[in-house]
């Protein structure tokens, strides 16, 4: 015990150092956002803002297109999530509850498509959308987001559908309902938490998306909020760091809140089966 105690203290100290290093960029973002310009551009930076100000936040939300682009993001993200969720729910049920020929190929595609680098798809997607006059429209971006949201939702929901005990489903059928009736009445309520978790995660991925939005949406009033943010700072030109950090904080907050809600439920979908071998 006497030998163990100092060792534990050592590990704890190391743990706290790792915590400080990892969290520092997030802390620095929030701290800068509340500082006055004098403090931000001082050669001897202060850790905590000595005279906290909301100036940078009001500058950010009053900058051109902030609210328009937030609205665009919300529209695209909601449309993507709703469509992806409805369509993929049925496919997830099929994967979890039925054996059918072609199932293996379907699984390979669902997983494989999620691995494709987005940059590799940007040219054909752009050219095809241009052909149908869908470049610089929110509809076009929503369609593109579905290419990654659908496979993700199918695979994640599959996991949640699997989690429902077969006995419950059978009990419903004994009671005289059809298989479809059993799904609707028994499965749906049970799977609701899974639907919420999946949709929140799809929400985050679409909200964070940059390359497609940046390529497909060219006019300021049509862009999403991540593209808006990327334009606040490009390269070496003089920029207002206080405002950028305030805007960054504002854009990160909804993601962080949602992420904290669902992280436990969802994060292991990508490594499903690996933990329990």
């Amino acid at each position: 015990m006497t030998r163990r105690l100092p060792r534990k203290l050592g590990w704890n100290a190391l743990g706290l150092i790792v915590f400080a290093v990892m969290i520092f960029p997030v802390f620095w973002m929030a701290s800068t956002a509340f500082k006055t310009n004098d403090e931000i551009y001082s050669f001897n930076p202060t850790w905590i803002p000595s005279k906290p100000t909301l100036r940078h936040f009001s500058a950010a939300i009053n900058r051109a297109y902030f609210w328009t682009d937030v609205k665009n993001s919300v529209i695209v993200v909601l449309a993507t999530v709703v469509i992806a969720l409805i369509l993929s729910f049925f496919a997830a049920v099929a994967l979890a509850k039925y054996r059918f020929s072609g199932r293996k190929l379907f699984i390979v595609l669902v997983i494989g498509i999620q691995m494709l680098p987005q940059a590799g798809l940007i040219i054909p997607l752009y050219v095809v959308l241009a052909k149908h006059s869908l470049v610089n429209t929110l509809t076009g971006v929503t369609l593109v987001y579905l290419t990654f949201a659908l496979p993700f939702c199918v695979w994640t929901l599959r996991g949640f559908v699997l989690g429902i005990p077969k006995e419950l489903e059978e009990a419903a059928m004994v009671d005289g309902s059809t298989r479809l009736g059993a799904f609707v009445r028994i499965l749906l309520p049970l799977i609701a938490p899974g639907l919420v978790a999946t949709s929140v995660f799809a929400f985050i991925t679409s909200w964070n998306e940059f390359i497609f939005a940046n390529t497909l949406l060219s006019s300021g009033s049509k862009q999403t909020i991540t593209v808006w943010l990327s334009y606040l700072w490009s390269g070496n030109r003089a920029v207002d760091w206080g405002e950028i950090m305030a805007a960054s904080t504002l854009i990160a907050i909804p993601v962080v809140i949602f992420f904290l809600l669902v992280q436990r439920r969802i994060a292991f979908g990508l490594t499903a089966g690996a933990v329990k071998g």
């Binding site: 590990w11 960029p25 997030v26 059918f100 494709l116 199918v154 699997l162 962080v256």
Partner: protein, 291 residues
């Protein structure tokens, strides 16, 4: 019945992804530029685009650079992620909770936001990184430019990516560590095994499946990374000396309106990634088949 259930997804995916991929193959065999984009008509060019790309040293240099970049990023992510996971087991509960909360917060940061924060921290004038390094007497970093050379630029991108990737790796490995049988570890310790031996012969074999999955995922992600290098180095600062695969493809193909050449590069890149995904997809297929 199952076919009816998968039909909507299959139909939509065929339209929004299958059709574009068919189009990608067609584009790669055409001379397709800005004028073609307006008329929606390219001219057939056979394998000209592929031969152009494969005979271009920029392609091979970029490929090599991206492979080295991926190797460095994945190694750093896996080693640091693993070490922090092992640390999590050894600290007191309150430190563990604090550290886990911090990791989840970092995990939740949107990449575009993280890029802005990195840009600010490594800023030449008032970047806090230069201040801290100077204060710690690492050297004189007053107004040090972290974006002066391609290596330094990519090192900044690496630090950003590794920082953002550690939480996922650490938390997944930490979850897997709970599967390591306590009795086995204790028995080995009683037998006088050193910590390293216990880790190598008892812990690591149990973690292997998770480590394998995480490594292949990291390789796939880091190889195709776009947002971080494109925005952190700056779209105007991208050139043949710091290209990574995605950025190269984006600028040479899309930025310069050479859609045919871009399509050829895309196909080459997608094939490389598909080859790298085999391990991961097979593993996940077993998961899907088993259930």
């Amino acid at each position: 019945m199952p076919y009816l259930l998968v039909l909507p997804v299959v139909a939509v995916m065929a339209a929004i992804l299958g059709y574009p991929i068919y189009y990608l193959v067609r584009l790669s065999l055409q001379k397709y530029d800005l004028a073609s984009l307006i008329t929606h008509q390219g001219t057939y060019a056979g394998l000209y685009n592929f031969s152009l790309v494969l005979h271009d040293t920029v392609f091979w240099h970029t490929l090599l650079r991206t492979i080295v970049f991926t190797a460095v990023n994945v190694s750093l992510t896996m080693v640091l992620g693993m070490l922090i996971a092992l640390l999590l087991v050894r600290v007191s509960t309150w430190v563990r909770l604090l550290l886990t909360a911090g990791l989840v917060l970092v995990w939740a940061m949107p990449p575009v936001v993280a890029v802005q924060v990195w840009g600010w921290m490594t800023n030449i004038q008032n970047g806090v990184l230069n201040y801290i390094l100077t204060e710690l007497h690492v050297g004189n970093y007053f107004q040090h430019n972290w974006y002066a050379t391609p290596t330094s630029q990519l090192a900044m991108v690496t630090s950003l990516i590794v920082w953002g990737a550690i939480p996922f790796v650490t938390i997944t490995i930490f979850a897997a560590l709970s599967q390591v049988p306590h009795e086995l570890v204790e028995a080995a310790e009683i037998d006088g095994a050193r910590a390293w031996r216990v880790y190598k012969d008892v812990t690591l074999p149990v973690l292997m499946p998770v480590v394998l999955i995480l490594t292949s995922l990291s390789i796939i992600w880091d190889f195709g990374v776009f947002t971080q290098p494109y925005l952190l180095i700056g779209s105007g600062q991208q050139n043949t000396s710091n290209y990574l695969m995605s950025v190269y493809l984006y600028i040479e193909g899309f930025g310069k309106n050479q859609f045919g050449i871009g399509a050829a590069i895309s196909i080459l890149m997608l094939l490389i990634v598909a080859a790298m995904s085999v391990v991961y997809v097979r593993r996940m297929l077993r998961v899907g088949e088993a259930t």
